[in-house]
Symmetry: C2
Subunit: 81 residues, 2 copies
């Protein structure tokens, strides 16, 4: 069994109003010195068997096209086989 973790975050140059709201809230609730907050998504995908060969290519492609929006988001993909 393989576990794939895909983290999706807005590209650095894209404004993140959710992150900005969290930054303000953290400050108001007593956390000092917060210089930036970015909010992203995390997908934890469990697969039967190992992720290799063609299936790894499909996973990589879908992480970039289904799980993230390549126009405004970057993703990282890590595999625990």
């Amino acid at each position: 069994m393989a576990r794939v973790v895909v983290n999706v975050a807005l590209k650095p140059e894209i404004l993140d109003p959710q992150g900005r709201a969290v930054q303000g809230a953290l400050g108001r609730l007593g956390l000092t010195g917060v210089s930036d907050v970015r909010q992203g998504k995390q997908f934890i995908i469990d697969l039967d068997g190992a992720l290799e060969g063609e299936r790894a290519e499909v996973m990589q492609k879908l992480a970039g096209e289904l799980l993230s929006n390549p126009v405004i988001e970057d993703f990282t993909l890590t595999v625990e086989n």
Copy 2:
């Protein structure tokens, strides 16, 4: 400068309809053998200075009360000082 990464996910016993929808879509788009998908949130928080002492306690508290809903979600917090 410290970077804090807070990952928030639904507790295992809570149904995740978003994850279920992604699981279905991955299958339809050609990824075989997907046994489970969970969708969560990720917060990347940049702080001035190191996270230690009272500020670390405030961060831990807010991760559990502001960034996640303790009734239905679990969180993990990692710090890169």
